[in-house]
Symmetry: C2
């Protein structure tokens, strides 16, 4: 039987972010923005949602005088991602 797909992950942009974070120790806002082709506003909102859910951490610092936002996937996020992939496989054969 088809499993539920975690709605937090079943979104192109959030899934893209999580996918990128799965493959890196951490990633900067600007990097994620470039790789996903998202607008800053949209990315900002979606990162907040992932953070709210405890799937990522967001660390805001400065590089010199400029703001620097760094994201990292959490253990919970990794687990959710892996479960999502398993569930998805039931759909794509």
């Amino acid at each position: 039987m088809l499993k539920e797909l975690d709605p937090l992950l079943h979104s192109q942009l959030r899934l893209g972010v999580m996918s990128l974070l799965m493959g890196a120790e951490s990633a900067e806002f600007t990097f994620l923005k470039e790789k996903t082709n998202a607008t800053a506003g949209n990315l900002s909102v979606q990162l907040d949602k992932l953070s709210e859910a405890g799937y990522i951490t967001i660390e805001k610092t400065f590089r010199g005088k400029k703001p620097l936002t760094r994201c990292r996937i959490t253990r919970k996020g990794i687990k959710a991602f892996e479960e999502y992939v398993q569930a998805l496989k039931g759909y794509i054969k």
Copy 2:
């Protein structure tokens, strides 16, 4: 680079329907409803969208005196599904 995910397929219910139709010659409304656990209203709407897009055909007849709605995936639908799966693989590694 991450590819676009066809928004018509990137929806739990529509993807579920397409997945079921990929594995069968045809399927009845009531069968799809059971397998996907959708409400009739939601399923009806999503089937229309897939049909509008040319991804499935919907044939309305009768079994005895009761309405019978039968769905089939089209060549276009199969292609779209396969492309979606390819694009998705870029996200889930």
